[in-house]
Subunit: 174 residues, 2 copies
Amino acid sequence: MANADMKDSLREKGVRLTRQRQILLDLIDGSGKHLDAEELFRLAQAQDPKLNRVTVYRTLKMLKHSGLVDELDLMHYGGDQHYYETRLKQEHAHIICLRCGKVEEFFGEPLQRLRKQVESHFGFEILITRTEIGGYCSHCQVLRAREMEQAAEIAETVPHTPPPQKPAPARKRG
Amino acid sequence: MANADMKDSLREKGVRLTRQRQILLDLIDGSGKHLDAEELFRLAQAQDPKLNRVTVYRTLKMLKHSGLVDELDLMHYGGDQHYYETRLKQEHAHIICLRCGKVEEFFGEPLQRLRKQVESHFGFEILITRTEIGGYCSHCQVLRAREMEQAAEIAETVPHTPPPQKPAPARKRG
DNA sequence: GTTAGTGCAAACCTTTTGCAGCTCT
DNA sequence: AGAGCTGCAAAAGGTTTGCACTAAC
């Protein structure tokens, strides 16, 4: 189990490994995707219905400050909440499709290069980095082109019709 | 006046250049720093006391969707709000000192390199990029070292004293 | 004159806090 | 046993929305 590292690290710091934290750690580490607090809460509650949302937030904050998880925004595609991932992987950029929401990860030398240059250039001690890139994935580029064509056709036929809205992202607020 | 570009761009899109928007555009473009909605609102209100906070948010959203401004988080150093800057400058990374809050900008080839690699690697069409780096600036590295020494001394003299808190960042919420 | 944009109030979502009680170590 | 952690309720911060009115084009 990969998050044994996390648990050891926490124990060393004298942080108590409560039942709730074990559940949350397992979920953060185990789920293949980037979870936000609410989703993490829902998943955790499935295992322990009494587990409170506040505990999720407190645990995430603690993990963030311990340097065990990174906080992402994913270009706010899904709303203003934050997403979390363990720091086990090598540094990487997140590539977010603003049409379908798919997230890719990019590991490549420009990132290390950037890091080194910033360190030497400013004498800066880097603790966290976050690189997020928003745009259209190859799949959605095609679909968008089609949408644009259709919009043009409609505009020819029925003048003064507003252009089609982009599909509403999965946010609860709007 | 640099934001003439912005104004032209908006006019072309058929966006109305209201008095409020002119004030906000001038501020976003003119102020040397990264403003958040609240600060922008305060500055704007100084020029027009009736200008409403909601208008600030609506204008920022409009500018963001028009691709005229970029939205930053600056690693949430100052809180969970967003910061804004015009897109006039070349693409750059933001380097945020997590101790003093100073923000540096880094323009360098790794950024273009990253962009190209992501485009070719994923066939991705990039619309926005955001690179933020958090850590300690050269100045604060020294200060932190001193703080750590002092903390160690205190720990020797008065055991079980908690280590000194990092100076509270300028957030209103906490 | 239209229609987009504004102000106001009220809502909304996400996150934090205070405090009493519980539970890891 | 006792500090650290949790749950609950309530609040806060930041942002959005509905609607009637106003002003840019």
